[in-house]
Amino acid sequence: MSLNKEAYIRYKVIDECLTNRFVTYPTIQDLIAACERKLGKIFSVSAIQKDIKAMKEDDALGFLAPIKFSRQFNGYYYADTDYSINTIPLNSSDIEALDAVSDMLEAFTGSRISENFNQAVEKIFASLKEKKFQIGKKQRCIQTDTYNQQKGFENFERLLHAVANRIPVCFIHYSYKKRCFNSVITHPMLLKEFQNRWYLVAYSEQHKGLRTFGLDRIRDPLFLDKPFHEVDERIVNAYFSHIYGTYPWPGYKHQKIYFYASALMSDYIKANPIHESQKEHNVKSDGSIVFEVELIPSQELVNFFKQFSPDVVVLKPSPIVKAVEDALKTAFFRYRMNHHETQTV
């Protein structure tokens, strides 16, 4: 391992200690111990102090970390509590280095990296290419949806580590529907993205089955030292093979769903099928089409029908028709009410 690479790992370890919310104000001995655990070798006080100085002052390194020492707590801390070296933007040499490995990573995306990640990896490559252009010219060339705005996205890396290394996780979950917090123990299986939002699919000990948790509802995930509950990959894949979105209606099996689409929307839906099971059931002379899909009803599917109403009308089965009808009636009622209340806005 080159010295530079090892030094960078030490900076990362020091940064992790300084951003650890559970143990604040690490002493120099805490930092030395953390580096020694990570790298498996002995470090002196002066070596770690030099690292801290470099992180604070080395222009070439570029961190300029606001590290301070608290006499009260006898430990180090970041003066800016939001600071982390992980938030430092890429410089040109970083981008060159990433570019060099991107080809290698691209080679893996077809086989090694889960299909759910392909899109995300492609976006990273697209962003990387854009950044390369930005060095020479300031105008943006590519714009991708930014996931890191999602509340809870800060836990993405931690949860990804749990999925990849099969580590059970305890986190606090807030249910928007039930309006309550719960401490849950899960065995993370997959991180799934749907419409710019990330979800954790995990075996829930509480529910004794697979469940989907929006990252925006997950607080403070902690790794647990206990055996991992494996779920057969076929069951995980089956969980999503017949669903549009992430939250299947409990107790419903996949079934044929028919919906009408106007000529305008038919073109759009043909170009962007909502599911691989999508078929054109009945094409009318005006260009409108009745589509058929075979899916488990889900909230996202209802939202889809609501979103494109009245150009899309679900025909059957009746529970979905009723769910969409009820939602649209409520929306209509609220629009009417708000129309009378506009004076108060």
Partner: protein, 118 residues
């Protein structure tokens, strides 16, 4: 009270508070600076070290609605190993508006070890 985490140097307790229609716009919350843990059989008191995501009295967190919520954490010194039940007291005498919890039992046989305790 959602979760109790026993670190070597700290005791961490996580809370979730959900507002309801009892107060207009959910009311407000804060935590008394003298909040403590009282070990049952020794009556030893462990004073709160830090409050995270909740203001310390006299500051207040005002909720915005009757369906608002707050997730917050209180830190205390480590619980002595031999003590397995305690009270968490914000203030006494107890009222319905205080974060007082009595007779909290820790069953270490059922506790789960954390990875990466630092």
């Amino acid at each position: 009270m959602l979760r109790i985490i026993l670190y070597e140097k700290l005791t961490r307790i996580d809370f979730g508070h959900q507002t309801d229609s009892f107060y207009i716009r959910g009311g407000w919350v804060n935590i008394h600076p003298e909040t403590f843990i009282r070990i049952h059989h020794s009556k030893e008191k462990l004073q709160m070290l830090k409050a995270e995501n909740i203001p310390v009295k006299p500051d207040k967190h005002h909720f915005r609605s009757t369906v608002d919520n707050l997730y917050f954490t209180l830190y205390f010194p480590p619980l002595p190993d031999r003590y397995l039940s305690f009270d968490l007291i914000e203030d006494e005498p107890a009222t319905t508006t205080l974060f007082n919890y009595y007779n909290i039992r820790i069953n270490k046989a059922k506790a789960i070890e954390l990875l990466n305790k630092i």
